[in-house]
């Protein structure tokens, strides 16, 4: 039986959203993630639902804020939500900033099966 989770995905790049969705479908095995996409920080408040979303995939660089801003907002709503930061590139400094807002993990988007496994396994093990 496959597991299914509702996840908030905050990402402004349409191509990236499509690519991640395709990767999840192709490499996601028996764990199904249903993504609700917010393309900006300001959209998050209208799309996020405490009762629905068990995890958030948050791109670090957003047009109207940083991933940490979104994380702080979500943590205020639900202290147990799994927060996965995504970026093409993480530095030590960014990882340190992520830990301050209690980001669960930071993953560089390389769209490999391993990258998808880390996302699905992390959400399934919460």
């Amino acid at each position: 039986m496959s597991l299914s989770f509702d996840v908030l995905y905050v990402e402004d790049c349409v191509a990236t959203v499509e690519l991640l969705d395709m990767c999840l479908n192709r490499y996601g095995s028996d764990i199904n993630l249903s993504l609700d996409v917010a393309s900006t920080f300001s959209q998050v408040s209208s799309i996020y639902s405490v009762d629905k979303h068990v995890a958030a995939l948050i791109d670090w660089n957003l047009p109207d804020g940083k991933g940490t801003d979104v994380a702080t907002f979500l943590r205020a709503q639900n202290k147990n939500i799994s927060i996965i930061f995504l970026s093409a590139l993480f530095t030590e400094n960014l990882i340190a900033q992520a830990s301050i807002v209690r980001g669960s993990i930071c993953l560089e988007k390389d769209y490999t099966p391993e990258f998808v496994s880390k996302i699905t396994e992390h959400i399934a093990s919460r």
Binding site: A15, T16, L19, C23, R26, A88, L89, K109, Y111
Partner: protein, 243 residues
């Protein structure tokens, strides 16, 4: 304005330029890496879905798209690593060089096994510097010694050290493919490669990074080499490094 005030002003300007440079480097690298990974990611998915409908020529073209994107990303990551050397310096510490070499050899163990190589070294001193950077230096030089081998024989890598009053002089020698005289001149340049990608993969940044690390540790690096006989890389590290 007093000398102290002027110095303080210059230091603040330097900090500001450094922060601006780091921000610029991150932004450019991030955006380019993101684009290259998209090319790679979409190409792989299209290939996985539709490869059975491609003729051989189209399959080869798809492989070239993916390998081109991977190569571009590798070059970018190497350039980023190079650019960060002088901005991400950690305080110097004293540590056992033996420990550093042991850890490096462990990191390279699969390549050592694959090539049936022998890496040997004698007594090593305690040295002073940035452990991470110096480990990267040894990694690059030992990796090169293993990578640029001749097909005929297994790599033999010898690590040796001598000292004088002010510095340590290390030597990492191998029995690999060596270099002709005209290639030695560009060995330490950025993206300088003396061999084709087909024969030996790489981006040509390793020795440029090695040179920068040695320079940041108050030393010099040079090489003696003979084609098809092997190379000896020498570098010095200051005993009393002040940064």
């Amino acid at each position: 304005m007093s000398t102290e005030e002027e110095l303080l002003k210059v230091q603040k300007q330097l900090q500001s330029v450094k922060a601006e440079y780091e921000e610029y480097t991150y932004a450019v690298s991030h955006d380019l890496v993101a684009s290259l990974r998209q090319i790679e990611g979409f190409s792989k998915l299209v290939h996985a879905r539709h490869a059975d409908q491609f003729d051989e020529k189209t399959k080869r073209h798809f492989d070239l798209i993916v390998s081109g994107a991977i190569k571009g990303r590798e070059i970018l990551e190497a350039l980023l690593s190079y650019s960060r050397l002088s901005t991400a310096i950690k305080p110097s510490t004293e540590f056992a060089c033996t420990q550093l070499i042991e850890e490096t050899v462990t990191q390279l163990s699969s390549l050592i096994d694959k090539t049936d190589a022998n890496v040997s070294y004698g007594d090593m001193p305690n040295i002073v510097g940035d452990f991470t950077q110096l480990q990267q230096l040894f990694y690059i030089l030992i990796h090169n010694a293993l990578h640029y081998r001749t097909p005929e024989c297994s790599p033999i890598v010898l690590i040796d050290v001598q000292e004088d009053e002010r510095q340590w002089q290390f030597n990492i020698s191998d029995n690999g493919m060596g270099m002709s005289d005209h290639l030695i001149g560009k060995a330490f340049t950025i993206l300088g490669r003396g061999v084709s990608d087909k024969e030996y993969t790489g981006v040509g940044m390793g020795l440029a990074i090695a040179k920068s690390i040695v320079s940041l540790h108050g030393g010099k690096i040079w090489v003696t080499s003979e084609k098809n006989k092997g190379s000896s890389f020498y570098f010095t590290l200051a005993k009393d490094i002040q940064r």
